[in-house]
């Protein structure tokens, strides 16, 4: 087995080191992007690169904005309850 094959196999058989810190929540960004891309690929009647990128970016941006708004609201609620 070549070194490249061994390295590839090893990277899929050992988990990554991810801590339980707030930064680990950033893993949601690629997932949100994947959901947006597949959703738009199934939803658009005709796919042109410019229109596809524009619509996908708009949806991705609106998802992230709403997540930030909800996070801020929950943070504010938590602050009100605990202070």
């Amino acid at each position: 087995m070549s070194i490249i094959t061994t390295v590839i196999m090893a990277s899929f058989t050992r988990p990554e080191q991810i801590g339980t810190n707030p930064q680990s929540l950033l893993w949601l960004l690629p997932l949100a992007a994947a959901i947006v891309i597949v959703y738009k690929a199934t939803k658009m009647s005709k796919i042109t690169p410019a229109a596809f990128i524009k619509e996908a970016a708009t949806l991705f941006g609106s998802i992230i904005v709403f997540i930030i708004i909800i996070a801020a609201a929950l943070y504010g609620l938590g602050w009100l309850i605990t202070e």
Binding site: I18, A41, T42
Partner: protein, 133 residues
Amino acid sequence: MAQRSRQTNISLLLIVGLLAWLVPGAGHFVINEKKRSIIIFVTIVLTFCTGLYIGSIGVINPGEARLAYSAQIMNSPIVRVLGQLTQTGAYPVYGRPNEIGQIYTSIAGLLNLLCIVNAVYLAHLKKTGSTGD
């Protein structure tokens, strides 16, 4: 004559659905939606592989994580082979990598389920000549 046409239509829809499950995007490819199929294939395979990279193949656990496995199996039948590999307990994974890996691979499976339904729907529209708007 009409019955034969209806049977052909149903078998076409079944073939499209089955292909879309075997290889993400293949359902769209056979109905001549090549751009869609490339986007779907690249995105779903990348999402699934990212999940496996983060949590290792141990995130596919048909024994203990049945709910996640039922979503993961929608990626492709290959997941079943990986599930049999991990049932030996040789690839343990716990904590945050397990959670994130399972979420990524499950979401990839559910996205492929959406694409299977969409491919069958588009094949039906093309066969009947409707626009679907």
